[in-house]
Amino acid sequence: MTPSIRRRGAAAFAACAVLALAACGTTSENSGQGGPSGGAAPAKCGADGKYTIGMSQANVAEPYRQRMDDDIRAAAATVPQFTVNFADAAQDNSKQVEQVDTFLSQQIDLLIISPNEATPLTAPVKRAFDKGIPVLVLDRKVDGDAYTSFIGADNVDIGKQAGQYYAKTLLPNGGKIGVLKGLAGSTPAKERFDGFTAGIQGSKIEIAATADGDWLRDKGQAQADALLKANPDIVAIYSENDPMAEGARIAAQNAGRADLPITGIDGLPIESGGIKAVSAGRLSATFIYPTGGKEAIAAAKSILVDCKKDLPRTQTLGTQLVTKDNADQVYATLNKTN
């Protein structure tokens, strides 16, 4: 008898625990008031409304995407009408589709999405758009034209500017260099490389070797190790992002080439980001790859609060060269709350 009572107690405990867990889920805002944001009125806008924005992020495990969320959070905090709900798909297309659908159940007023991949997310984005919900697509595009506005940087252009920096400033007399590329098959890896080769066109710079570092610091280090062993005559390394460049710096130090010029891309304005690495002298230069978070909230504000309808279809964000001269100043500017 005793054991059965104990077991029933355990089951009851389990039930309570699950209930308690769900209870932590309640927040004041969802306790019942539908609020003015309810209903399917697509053209609803104005300064006196309250708006819920759904932000669907592909993968916050990447520092760049975490920063994008942070930028959105910070910018939205300055707009009293906005509440932003964040979802993280953890690099899973299916999960992101589900999360967009959950946003639709929640009847959000505007969707911001940074898609994990274009095609799989096209259908849910279209579902939202067809319901009259404005959709801002960040960083990576979706197929077709069922969205309001795309905000992102141009990787080809960034690569090109990096190439020109090599040709004009870093190695005006030319030389052999190594290239660390991102994940094979990913669009930015190709674009940053194509742009770079266009940028060094006509100079005496020769790409002696390339290797795939998969965007990762440890992989970048391993590949740079091999690169430096196989090509001891290279005079600089162009890395397609900052973490791989940081890895390459360690490899260069291990190879007794501590002063080898290495550049990256991304320039995240965080403690562990590329700008700080340039400031500390580990990277020779980096190029800012803006998150577009701030611009997205500005666009959301002009749609929902200012009732503007003529948003540009594409907003291309420019890059900025960060060297030791301006690193601290750029860092401060990008972290200024305004």
Binding site: C24, G25, S94, T102
Partner: protein
Amino acid sequence: MTDVAAAPDTTSVEEPGPGARLIASLFRFQSLFGLVVVFVAAVAYSPVRNGELVFLNSQNLFNVVRSISEIGILAVGMTLVILIGGIDLSVGSVLGLASVGAASLLMVNDLGVAAAVALVLLIGLGFGLLQGFAVAKFGIQAFIVTLAGMQIARGLARIWSGGQGISITYGDGPANAPVAFSLLGERTFNGLVPIPALIFLVVAALAVVLLRVSAFSRHVYAIGGNEKAARLSGVPVTRVKIAVFGICGLLAALAGIVHAGQLNFGAPNDGAMYELDAIAAVVIGGTSLMGGRGSVVGTVAGALLVGVLRNILALNNIDSNIQLLIIGLVIVLAAGLQRLRPASAGT
């Protein structure tokens, strides 16, 4: 004298009273009860829009079912493998391989839907059978074999697709998939019930029947309970094991076809960690990782439980990191409950 006295004793052990039986079934179907609890909690804590509970909105409920259907299909196969005391870590990668295969055969090779689906299912079946063969014939641990299988399937998916996802577009001409395949993509039957959910239900129902009526069922539970004893009592252990891994591979391929259809995309990198989600559903469903104990019904309820929990947490805007903590706690709780399960509770 002693024989007579002992007889009633043994029967009383084998046939527990109604109270004990109730407890046994409580534990056997813990995830069903857990599902009810989570569902009730979800209703109680659902946000309200325009006087309607968002959670109970039919669109939302079908989103939940659709979102777990792929994991659910994987988890049914995983249940069989775990029942024989094995594990299959390759299902997520096989899902990715199958989604690439389906997309490629439809778009690049211009096969019809039936041919493409059959071919991909065959690939999954073959992959599973090979793994089962390695486990059963060579006695390599399932963990190791399927760990290798996971790498191999992922590598094959990347090679087949050239590392790039393959978009699926519909139409009549070449380089288009037959419109029939978009049944999976349009995602609903009668405008409401998602096709993937129907497929999941059919798969689960077939598995339940298979584990109820057939000799195969007795063999599966016998191998999981005590493989040596099963072999000695004439169970064709090797054959059953190979078959179980084959079924698991087949179902992983089926889930991959559903995946490709839902996303209109064959994605070589998709399905990562799905094997762990499937194992979680099985564990929450009350199936013992030691084998021999568990049920498909429990697994289905386990998958639904996770789906409902994720949905209600998302509807309430719980931070995604907190969601991970909560789901992790539920898995531990479910496994902990199984430790309390009375030994006499049977399968």
